[in-house]
Amino acid sequence: MTEQTHQIRLHVNGVEHEAAVPARRLLSDALRHDLGLTGTHVGCEHGVCGACTVLVDGQPMRSCLMFAVSAAGHEITTVEGLARPDGELGPVQQAFRECHGLQCGFCTPGFLTTITAGIAENPDPTEDEARDMVAGNLCRCTGYQNIVKAVCRAAELARSGEDGAA
């Protein structure tokens, strides 16, 4: 017996994708395997590590805790959608590079999406607020020291970017 599939449209990084997926296909798997957007990583599949975090209508959510069928109709942003329109690194990406906020890079996409939403809500976080922003994401390499620095630096870059644009 073949499993029934659902024809869905996923809006990801401003692009509409069509896919035929079984109801049980996790959003994380749909992004990675059906859409080929392998920047979103899967670290635990039980919602604890945060590696798979994407933005759903601008809010960070665990893509391993959503089904692709449930995500249809929402605007999804993955790490691939964080660069500037001209292809330059976005402020959070740039800050991670500057501050050595990553080592193996596997957890990084989840941090980048989380912080992107975080500094949109709080453009000038204190160090404590920066810590709070990333408190739900696991990293096994960096000891988080430079990630916290990167949050503050990203906010600074984002602020100066806005000033420049104004």
Partner: protein
């Protein structure tokens, strides 16, 4: 860790949702899914049908009135936590919500879903119980209100019928001359607590006229204990210690890999004293 296959329905109306549920004895409701999806992925649960209620209209409300807070089935924890009116009318709700997992989980998880999940280690069932709230559910027979006293019937078990959908929770407003407090101790920030305690204290002047406390992770169903008599009107080291002993008589802390039963009981004592004191303080401030 991939879910077993299931049929999926995403009804656009409550009627359709109820029909979908009624048609399958093994159907389950999917709202935020933050507790359910891990269970599915680990294949600890394998419902034949998932009824995704996220498209149902008019269920994402957070309505605040003088008598309390009404939270719709699709209101995310984060939306409730952000609402300044909720904090004003019933501050215990945001105090507890801030301790529900991590921010990212709160963006998707629903408060009503957490109530229905009926986990005695979770914050919101205990808070609903402590505040004496209620849950509105809709079933084939129409809508009914389940008082919280009748909601939690066993470990991870509520009195919802299989063919019913919870649509709204009601958290009563903070009464006059009343203060609340919440504190929990977890191994890591954001984890399930080893023990958590919330308190609601009402004063007349400095005198405690009512004190109740709710407990997390030290019993198998959400548990609330009336500490009024034990406190005998005043807050002191001795009365707080007596109150904690009264509470412990009704709690059943258990040993697991994170904490022994003795340690949980100890935390229940410490936290009882802390939150009752803090709630008392808040009540006295609220008075003026």
């Amino acid at each position: 860790m991939k879910p077993a296959p299931f049929d999926y329905a995403r009804p656009g109306t409550l009627e359709e949702a109820l029909q979908a549920l009624a048609g399958h004895p093994e159907a389950k409701v999917l709202a935020g899914g933050q507790s359910l999806v891990p269970l599915l992925s680990m294949r600890l649960a394998a419902p034949a049908v998932l009824v995704d209620i996220n498209d149902l209209p008019d269920l994402d409300h957070v309505r605040v009135s003088a008598d309390g807070v009404r939270i719709g089935a699709l209101a995310r924890h984060a939306a409730v936590l952000r609402d300044p009116d909720v904090a004003r009318v019933q501050p215990l709700v945001p105090l507890a919500l801030a301790n529900v997992a991590h921010a990212t989980i709160r963006n998707r998880g629903t408060t009503v879903g957490s109530l229905v999940h009926a986990d005695a280690a979770a914050e919101m069932p205990m808070v609903l119980r402590l505040l004496d709230g209620s849950l509105d559910v809709v079933g084939p027979g129409g809508r009914r209100t389940i008082p919280v006293a009748e909601l939690y019937v066993g470990p991870l078990e509520s009195s919802l019928h299989h063919d019913e959908i919870a649509v709204e929770a009601f958290f009563p407003a903070l009464a006059k001359h009343t203060g609340v407090a919440f504190e929990e101790i977890a191994r890591r920030h954001g984890d399930y607590a080893m023990c958590g305690v919330a308190a609601v204290v009402t004063v007349d002047g400095d005198r405690v006229v009512s004190a109740r406390a709710g407990y997390l992770s030290v019993s198998d169903i959400p548990t609330v204990v009336d500490l009024t008599d034990a406190l005998d009107g005043s807050i002191s080291d001795a009365s707080l210690a007596a109150a904690a002993e009264v509470a412990l008589e009704q709690l059943e802390p258990e040993t697991d890999i994170h904490a022994t039963a003795d340690y949980r009981a100890h935390l229940a004592r410490v936290l009882t004293a802390r939150v009752v004191t803090a709630a008392h303080e808040n009540a006295r401030e609220a008075r003026s």
